[in-house]
Amino acid sequence: MTDAAKLTFHVPEPELRPGDTPDFSHVTIPQAGSVRRPEVDEHPQEIRDLAFSIIRVLDREGRAVGPWAGTLSDAELVEGLRHMMTLRIFDNRMMTAQRQGKTSFYMQHLGEEAVACAFRKALDPGDMNFPTYRQAGLLIAGGYPMSKMMCQIYSNEADPLKGRQLPVLYSARDHGFFSVSGNLATQFIQAVGWAMASAISGDTRIAAGWIGDGSTAESDFHAALVFASTYKAPVILNIVNNQWAISTFQGIARGDAGTFAARGHGFGIPSLRVDGNDYLAVHAVAKWAAERARRNLGPTLVEYVTYRAGGHSTSDDPSAYRPKAESEAWPLGDPVLRLKAHLIATGAWSDERHTQAEAEIRAEVIAAQKEAEKIGTLHTGRHPSPREMFEDVYAEMPPHLLRQRHETGF
């Protein structure tokens, strides 16, 4: 076919790069309350549309509207707000600590606090999350001690992971928080395996897998969907679409699909898309998915639409690849401000109480930090013994490791 036109190569590009003026006016944001809430056992084919919309509860005036509203009391919402505020202040302190050389590395959640904080409250004790590095909200909202998190970040003597792991790669079994891997996506299929195990055991506990938009390109994302779909595993498969994967915009991973939620359609898995900056919507959708899992109806895929307002990590400066003010232009707003506005609107909260809460939380975080720093930071204070380096490779130390530890003199 020599008369065919030459092929050309297509590389998706974000619309905006440094220097451009942020503009999200072309992004269609459905009105809060406008997306229906199907029964949990409705056939996945019948709810295809939910993967192409955005489930939202909080409207512009801060009112909770529509069929997804009403899953939480005001008291619970105030607690949720405090969790998000805590996470933000925690992040803030740790970003600074990293700059001060107290740790090697940190990753914050700025702009995404609602996702993990609200999700956590839809789970029951005993359920297990398989998180990535950006779900510390699960720990905060689950009441895990902040000083313990900081000890991990500082790799000090009280680090529950004995200094072995990169900062923020927590593990907290009793808090339903699986050990975070540095390798992307591996946890997604593990979550499915855990859920399969629960079903095999005739248990009632369910699992939740977590993955970022960029990481959905990894193979284990596919493995997870294949296994979840095949064995109808009681698992919630969460995609946190914060628009960016380090310097790469979501279009590189999503390709020509309308949304990440659509990935579920190839597997007959009910797939929902939700406003990730809306604490109430996240919670309601998580509850819905958890009920499906617990009623043995199988997996649910959820895409949380949010925005990574900060850098990817302390090693990253996003101004090199996106407009500086892009995050402010982000049309779904800030999760903390939105929930605050809602609670003020309902009368359960006020600016004064907010300011006061902020001060209280800051004090708590600082107290936790002091406690952790009393023990040590990466380069100061007390650290796990180098002996620890040789422990836990196996349950029992084999002769060759004993020999090596001996060589070190520890």
């Binding site: 297990m128 398989f130 529950p160 992971l161 004995k162 072995r164 792991q165 790669l169 593990s171 907290a172 079994r173 699986f178 050990s179 891997s181 540095g182 390798n183 591996t186 299929i189 593990q190 979550a191 499915v192 395996g193 855990w194 859920a195 399969m196 195990a197 629960s198 079903a199 095999i200 055991s201 699992a207 193979s219 284990d220 596919h222 493995a223 997870a224 294949v226 296994f227 095949t230 836990d392 490779v393 196996y394 349950a395 084999p398 002769p399 060759h400």
Partner: protein
Amino acid sequence: MPKCRRTSCASATRRGSDMARMTMVEAIRDAHDVAMGRDDKVVVFGEDVGYFGGVFRCTAGLQAKYGPSRCFDAPISESGIVGAAVGMAAYGLKPCVEIQFADYMYPAYDQIVSEAARLRYRSAGEFTCPIVIRMPTGGGIFGGQTHSQSPEALFTHVAGLKTVVPSNPQDAKGLLLAAIDDPDPVIFLEPKRLYNGPFDGHHDRPVESWKTSPLSEVEEGWCPIPLGRANVVREGGDLTVLAYGTMVHVALAAVAESGTDAEVIDLRTLIPLDVDAIVASVRRTGRCLIVHEATLTSGFGAELAALVQRNCFWHLEAPVLRVAGWDTPYPHAQEWHYFPGPARIVENIRAVMEA
């Protein structure tokens, strides 16, 4: 086999009525059965493993006996199989999964290396990964480059894994029971050429069956063989031959043909390695030959040679030699030129003896 000494799951006192003759396939099946019967937490899955019982039949009958929740077919996704197993282990089950051929473990390599092997370490013991990953390994069946590989060195380099290679039905059962019982991930490499009979490398002679070998006497019930202990399968003073899997049989044949009084050690477990047994033998014989099917360069023989020269330097009377697969993919038609058969081993025994 003169001067043959064996330690196995069949302890002297229990010999007799509670022994059965099995092929290696039957012994592996029996180990599964015993482990599943003893512990509800043991689940078995893999490609074609459930209804059909595995392409080599190692799991035949298990689904019928224990139901599809305990033994089931998996999608063709090695990373999915191992990844799901890691999650199940984190839950508290003890998955024993099959990779259809060792040659197909690569898609699962990330889950094995980055996840299974490091989970206990990275979580400081909060989560553990007691899984067994079985896979048929090695050549000798005209399987070409994707049904013949011996990737053990790709596991022995990974801290956190144990690696086991049985050479007969007795060991296969006992070691598999120990592997399933082990609190850590174990790679269990099954020399497929030994599934139905021993093989001494003389491919032009009639096929042997396990039925006539004393090594097919397998103890019934729960009879684990501890990981980490080598087995001196032939005592001798002239030189020490280190081998595992199929090559144990080939080495024994070669030793007999060479007329040397070699000590032959079946390593059985590569990690943790029974260094003491190796060192004691080589210090006594002063000479060492290493045999494996895997490609030579960076094969497990390299580690063995490095350890032996390090620990037996002053006792060595000749360089440690290695006989191994050539540094090429495993070819189809040239199988018997590739396979380190008795002739090549005899030649190298001579070289070690004459050095």
